[in-house]
Symmetry: C2
């Protein structure tokens, strides 16, 4: 939030990284919906937090509305429609709905919305911090086997502090290892078409002084065949309570390569990324974005967005943003309550309050 | 070769496609080595043909040399050093060495070198034409099962007529299907970092009016999980006589996804891409190119090369150009003599002259 103006929410416009670090002022729920849809902000946890603050802005806007509940519902629907795959978005909107339901005045609604938005963000940061602690133990065990050589970790897309409120999910254990002076080296998948690996993860790791090397998405198999990867560590946009993992498109291919080469494949996620209603990962809606993200490459340079065509104008492109890694390719899930295996019973053992009575 | 000047070899500078179609004049063996190394020309078959013509240019250059055999050997070594993975290069140089060995004059050497270069190119085109005939039968069988719906073929990189002298290897069956009015649709992997899929294959298929759609390399798994791929069809830069396939990096990941989703995975190759000396694919040398190909995206626009940074300047990148798909993930090999399974005995049944006595 803006330091001196509580009607303005501030976000990092991630589209301009790594070339420029730009803070954007968001003043309405509609602006927040655009920021989420057009990926000024992205990443499972951050989408949830942004939606929470979007509903706070909506509460502010409804202060003088004659039908505030209808206006709030419209804002929630607009925010929900932006990105279909990450479940954190729906969860944050639900939390805000419940929080504001009992408000008996506009002022009270605004106060509750702000409180809830902050709680969502704080909870996200706290979960990621704990994921770091649990994941650190995993890396520590691997480091012992490597006898001083760096633990080689491959990651896909950005599940770092840019994707969450702080720490990140997949990066939290990496940052924790770095703080504990355990040597690590991170293979950063470029992550086409939007290059969140090259543009965001590499930048983040550079800021935190974590040794890393960018590779094309195509290279993960060869790296694993060559014995250069000890651990694959990715985030998740939605994980079923049975352990199927939706994450950035291409994650499934890395999971297949990890299995074929006996490399452990771990998914780090706060419990806000679990879908407690879905048993079959194949039913997770997969966002389809515009084909132009594939046909063009984009970067922010010398104060303007440069976009170059990589393909003939007349060729069609499609752009599925996520894929689903079936549970049997996942070694373990790293959550804020500990590490578990990707199956219903182990997941519900960690989160017993989610068990059906 | 140039129409009116037999001392000039002409190539398509593929770096400028799809934005510009530029013919480049190559006048010396050293220039040809640069054209191969910097990928003005690329693709297993075309590299072989280019090396053949490179040796013809070397023969021309040695006309007044006092030690022609040493000059020719230097030229061959320089050409050989350009790209380590594709075996066609070494084969073409060996054919030229043998052809010129018996020449008793400079004129005779030049005549033999030109004859051999042409034979290598003609043989490549003829092999690809036959690969088209054999692969067509495969597609025809699949088309019957699809009952009028297009056969969905996924390909990686460019194994089209731009990669060979004509027809291409992986594309030859596709073009043959198109000519036979069998409906096909091709999923074109972008193929980062050099985007040969988007830039070359999509352009080629567009020229031939084959319906196609470009996807990010990461998308192949999701496409196959969604039942949208009937056949994976790729080329090869080197295949062991036991059936292990080196091809553009990322091929192995598609093969893993094909296996997990029961999609047939075929490799089309002329026998010039077999390595008859290597039993174990893990011993195929994998070319490592400059990391800047990963950190930047490049395209030719408005008459100049535009290069944009996709990553922080300070981040390191590595760029393995190929990977090896172990034989047990390959359904079949499509060669100029027919289709066989990827094992020593089936391959040698098709090429009995290669059997050790």
């Amino acid at each position: 939030m803006h330091e001196s103006d509580p009607t303005v929410v501030q976000i990092i416009d991630q589209r301009r990284l790594p070339h420029e670090f730009v803070i954007e002022d968001v003043r309405t729920a509609a602006e927040m919906a655009i920021a989420i849809r057009d990926m000024h902000v992205r990443g499972a946890g951050l989408i949830g937090a942004a939606a929470g603050f979007g509903m706070y802005l909506a509460a502010l806007e409804t202060a003088k509305s004659r039908n505030p509940s209808s206006s709030l519902e419209n804002a929630a629907q607009a925010l929900l429609a932006t990105r279909p795959t990450a479940v954190n978005l729906a969860l944050a909107l639900e939390q805000q709905r419940k929080a504001m339901a009992d408000a008996d005045s506009a002022g009270e609604r605004i106060r509750l919305a702000l409180e809830t938005a902050r709680a969502i963000a704080d909870d996200d940061a706290e979960c990621c911090r704990k994921i770091g602690i649990h994941g650190l133990e995993l890396i520590r065990r691997m480091a012992k086997e490597k006898k001083g050589k760096p633990v080689q970790i491959l990651t896909h897309c950005n599940a770092g502090w840019l994707a969450f409120v702080d720490y990140g999910s997949a990066t939290a254990p990496i940052y924790a290892a770095r703080e504990s002076a355990i040597p690590v080296h991170v293979w950063v998948d470029e992550t086409r078409p939007r290059s969140q690996g090259s543009k965001l993860t590499a930048w983040e790791l550079g800021q935190e002084e974590v040794p890393h090397t960018i590779v094309a998405d195509n290279a993960a198999g060869h790296l694993m065949q060559s014995g250069l990867v000890d651990l694959v560590l990715v985030g998740s946009d939605r994980t079923t309570f049975t352990g199927d993992v939706a994450n950035k498109v291409g994650t499934y291919l890395k999971a297949l390569a990890a299995r074929d080469n006996n490399v452990p494949f771990y998914v780090a996620l706060p419990s806000s990324s679990f879908d407690w209603t879905l048993r079959d990962g194949r039913k997770i809606p997969i966002e389809e974005r515009g084909g132009e993200e594939v046909k063009y490459a984009e970067a922010w340079q010398n104060g303007e967005v440069v976009r170059i065509a990589l393909a003939p104008e007349t060729s069609r492109a499609v752009n599925y943003a996520f894929d689903v890694t079936p549970r049997h390719f996942v070694t373990g899930l790293i959550t804020e309550r500990g590490i578990c295996r990707p199956n219903e019973s182990d997941i519900l053992s960690l989160f017993p309050e989610r068990s059906q009575p």
